[in-house]
Symmetry: none
Subunit: 191 residues, 2 copies
Amino acid sequence: MSDDPDYLGRLRDYYARHRVLPSYSRIGGLLGFSSKASVAKLVGRLQAAGYLEFTADRRLKPGRRFFERSVAGSKVAAGFPSAVADDLQDDVAIDQDLVRHPSRTVLVTVKGDSMIDAGLLPGDRAVVERRHTAAEGDIVVAIVDNESTIKRLAKERGRFVLKPENKAYPILRPKELEIFGVVVGSYRKYR
Amino acid sequence: MSDDPDYLGRLRDYYARHRVLPSYSRIGGLLGFSSKASVAKLVGRLQAAGYLEFTADRRLKPGRRFFERSVAGSKVAAGFPSAVADDLQDDVAIDQDLVRHPSRTVLVTVKGDSMIDAGLLPGDRAVVERRHTAAEGDIVVAIVDNESTIKRLAKERGRFVLKPENKAYPILRPKELEIFGVVVGSYRKYR
DNA sequence: TTGCGCGGCGAACGATCGTTCGCTAGCATA
DNA sequence: TATGCTAGCGAACGATCGTTCGCCGCGCAA
């Protein structure tokens, strides 16, 4: 029952819908302000907190923390479920969390169920950092016979092999093995 | 060596950097136009093609196709891996893909392996949209005995039950069942 | 060769923008 | 009670916005 207007939340919702920030007067209308001056002050606060920034030409843009999400803990106090949200541990920006080197990072759609025991289902997006070397145990995107495939990189008698994480599939022992990149993360949408 | 100015591409680059579209005059400067009228016409073309849209209050915003990227399959042309890289390039697409209603969205860390067959491993982050109702078949965060738990919502003789996706776990038939939110996505980091 | 569509130019215009300033009301501290 | 701080209001202002209109030059098809 908080009467916190949650201005930031509403701005984020607007942005999620439109991928653009509205003008000060629209923000005012959106948040219930009747004066643009109030908006200016709010923007100042949000900017100081790192949620908003300005481009070089003074156009409003989302700041670093704009895309952060709060992480809820698992404790639930006294059967009151909103307490789950109060148990917030910290804020995480999904993108920054998953992508460390944007210019070298690519998304690859997972095909097939050969990595299902590693939690990679068909249709999942794998976050792949491109590079030509990988370590034993890494999940890699490899090029075999002009096809890309996602497997666990393992060693067998001093040779690198590709291990599916699904007992129904055999270990691959390709003559030529080219590493396309290393899987550093993955995500999926439900429904 | 195309002399195609690739206006759209440069607009996308700007947007990727700033998460905001510039004004007509800035677009002009950016793309090498000296007249805003030219920009207006270009915008008209891009709008007709579905790359740009306007909000209800006529503010320029990215259109449906603005975030399109060529969807690369698993084929790798002539052993040249960069073909795979033509997939999604945009780091931020991840967040925007997963989170539809920022103000109602929370991250919850998955505990235990009871949902492992649904691809939810311990430590995974579940993207949860907070709400008190859910449909049969949804993966939900529910509150049972003052603890939050992630399970598949199912129906059994007209009653809602919580189904783990792991044969080692029993179906939960709690007397009291409170929905905390619906899992709309998940992601994980490797290493 | 003429005509026409298209992409871009340049200037002008009213609308909207964000800023600024002084003001009020509430709340916490002293 | 007095003091300040914070959030918001309301009006005015110059700057910038996006639109509009007429114009030009090029390429292509008749």
